[in-house]
């Protein structure tokens, strides 16, 4: 299994990766990207099974990245992870077709929940 983790903050990526590892130990290969553009490129080249996407990033933000990824793969499985939990943000991501929204700081239980729901384990 391949998982793509996208966030402009180093520590945020590390936190997300740690939660993922707590959930499924080393059963997945983790790929990282630090903005939406990199995420798009990585998605094309590595074709991950699951994406954890932060929303506020420079160059290309999470919303745009989700949109673009969905354009090349309408079945892409994307979970947004964000500090911005305003209702507007959540609704917008839902419209874009994400399968989940996790509030920062992320914890491994939520990750487990989604992975089981998706039947990826």
């Amino acid at each position: 299994m391949k998982i793509l983790v996208v966030d402009d903050s180093n520590i945020a990526r590390k936190m997300t990766i740690k939660s993922i590892k707590e959930a499924i130990s080393d059963k997945a290969e983790i790929i990282q990207a630090s903005n939406g553009l990199e995420a798009l490129n990585e998605y094309k080249s590595s074709q991950p099974d699951l994406v954890f996407m932060d929303l506020t990033m420079p160059v290309m933000d999470g919303f745009e990245a989700v949109e673009k990824i969905k354009e090349i793969d309408k079945d892409a499985k994307i979970i947004t992870v964000s500090a911005d939990i305003q209702k507007g943000a959540v609704d917008k991501t839902r419209e874009l077709g994400v399968i989940g929204f996790i509030k920062k700081p992320i914890n491994s239980n939520k990750v487990i929940e989604y992975i089981e729901k998706l039947g990826l384990n």
Partner: protein, 203 residues
């Protein structure tokens, strides 16, 4: 320079924690106030305290009467929150929150103090939770000044260098805007550095 006080990783960690704290705070604030309020993505800056006044003046073009609220934070993480809002916004805010078209200056003062307390508790409360440290807040106090030119620099003379975390509180479609500034000083910055290191070591 911030770079000399905090290294790249620490800065990154601080920014992330602040984003999380202020992001969560936004939601709490909307819930409490029954209205849609957003906190803009917080910006972090390091300044010498004497530069604060210039920084404020540069950020606000209005020469309007300003409500300046200060709230002191005690604890392992200590500092001061300053909330700035001009007279027009303050009055509009009070009218909305008190559901009263005719508010007097005492009522507006009360509302501005209350908002500051809510902002402080929401943002710093969450922040201290993430740092696993306890804080407590003093009752906020208000000063009304004719314009930012009158901002009293003596109040912050105890601060040598300050980390400024500023964000704008905006009420959607209502043209109500206020700025929240967190000041933290020398010793507290040192303690902050230690806490950030602790967190970085976990990952």
């Amino acid at each position: 320079m911030l770079e000399n006080i905090l290294n790249e990783d620490e800065k990154d960690c601080l920014q992330e924690l602040i984003n999380i704290s202020y992001g969560t705070a936004s939601a709490s604030i909307s819930e409490i106030l029954d209205s849609f309020a957003t906190l803009k993505v917080p910006r972090i800056k390091l300044l010498k305290s004497l530069q604060l006044k210039d920084y404020l003046i540069n950020n606000d073009s209005s020469n309007d009467i300003q409500f300046v609220v200060s709230q002191i934070i005690h604890g392992n993480f200590s500092g001061e929150n300053i909330f700035l809002i001009n007279k027009d916004s303050a009055f509009k805010l009070a009218e909305i929150l008190n559901e009263d078209e005719d508010v007097n200056i005492e009522e507006v003062s009360d509302v501005v103090l209350e908002i500051t307390n809510i902002l402080s508790s929401a943002t710093i409360g969450k922040f201290s939770e993430l740092l696993d440290t306890k804080v407590s807040f003093q009752a906020p106090s208000l000063e009304i000044i004719d314009s930012l030119e009158d901002f009293n620099e003596n109040r912050i003379k105890d601060f040598n260098e300050v980390i400024i975390i500023s964000t704008i509180l905006e009420f959607d479609k209502l043209n109500v805007k206020g700025e929240l500034i967190l000041l933290t000083k020398d010793e507290s910055i040192k303690k902050l550095k230690e806490e950030l290191q602790k967190i970085l070591e976990e990952y």
